[in-house]
Amino acid sequence: MMQTAALALAVPCAAILLGGLLSGIDRRLTARLQSRQGPPLSQPFLDVIKLMAKERMVTNPWQAFSPVASLGAAAFALVFFALQGDLLVILFVHMVGGVFLVLGAMASPSPYSQTASQRELWQMLSCETLLFLIAGALYLTTGSFRLSELSALPEPLLYRLPLLFAAFFFALTVKMRKSPFDLAGCHHAHQELVRGVFTEYVGPYLGLLEIAHWLDIVLYLAICSLFWATSTPAMILLPLAAFLAVIMLDNVAARLTWRWMLGWGWGAAFVLSALNLSWLKG
């Protein structure tokens, strides 16, 4: 019991540090790829601290509640993951965070925030379905949705689910808010629809959402590590490689429209996943 409580406290804190650091690496790497020096690694933390100390402004109470709920859901999902819980529960809790983000954004009549909210819903629809397919694949291989079963597997999941991993990579680019699928709020400041779903969130609320975003990325990278859960070095290297690949892609790709995203998400990624699942069964 004590151990669980300690874990519930330590995991989100560690994830915040890791997520902020990853965001710093991302900004610096992106700058280097554009022949710039880039900000220091601590920049994301400085940004969040500054935002936290700004004035609280809301046009609707939902904008104050949603970031807290969103952050809470992201933290809970990570704790469940650390406890090696049920992947379905983790995904549902994680989704709640996304829903609150949209709720808060929709509570304002701003057209930027409204349009971006619609796009965010499309993104969730195309990305979360893929994650549930991964959960399904987990069930088909281990006979359970629990993550604890994974380490008992004789060979990495990636050998059996290569196509599903490709589909997961698509979901990762969407979740990290990176080109070509950063339609509902670009990770870089103010490129698409001003700041997309984040447009109407001010100061501390924006800061909370930024932290929630870090936690989401850490969760996705943790899910990524499941694909090679049999060895510890691979569990670190595989997510790292995926993370770097997303940043590279972000720097070479232009932004696509939401129709393209649906085409890729439901067309390509969905077909790949279904194909993978079908041979898993047979």
Binding site: D47, I49, K50
Partner: protein, 152 residues
């Protein structure tokens, strides 16, 4: 509390997000302002981000004269920015109305409508002067954390 205050003040100085508003400029000052913000100078090194949303901005850069039409826009932009915030007026026009000051529709400098913290002279203001002004604005931004600007 001392440590937290110090942390906040450092974070403020190293993470200024700028909003640039072309009030009624001839575009001379805008070209100079945007030149400072291009990747060539890489101001992101210092945490500076050029934002397009007053709700996320810390420093408002205003170029050009204020006229009867756009004074309302300027006020709204200023009011939408959360405290603490700093305003930098750029160019002779932003300071006093410049060569347009006698036009019938011109109200005058930016400080006729909103409080200005830093004045950057020049026609157009030189990029070096603008960067100088932003650095000065950073100091003011940090100072405001001690005074009335404390976020609440």
């Amino acid at each position: 509390m001392g440590l937290i205050d110090k942390l906040i003040s450092t974070a403020r100085r190293r993470s200024p997000w700028l909003l640039h508003f072309d009030c009624g400029s001839c575009n001379g000052c805008d070209i100079e302002t945007l030149a400072c913000l291009t990747p060539v100078y890489d101001v992101e090194r210092f945490g500076v981000v050029n934002v397009g949303n007053p709700k996320h901005a810390d420093i408002l850069l205003v170029t050009g004269t204020v006229n009867l039409r756009n004074r309302e826009v300027l006020t709204v932009l200023f009011e939408q920015m959360p405290e603490p915030k700093v305003v930098v007026a750029i160019g002779a026009c932003g300071l006093s109305g410049g060569i347009f000051r006698e036009a019938p529709n011109v109200v005058g400098g930016v400080d006729k409508v909103i409080p200005v913290d830093v004045y950057v002279p020049g026609c157009p203001a030189r990029p070096e002067a603008i960067i100088d002004g932003v650095v000065l604005a950073l100091e003011k931004f940090r100072e405001k954390s001690k005074g009335k600007g404390e976020g609440k």
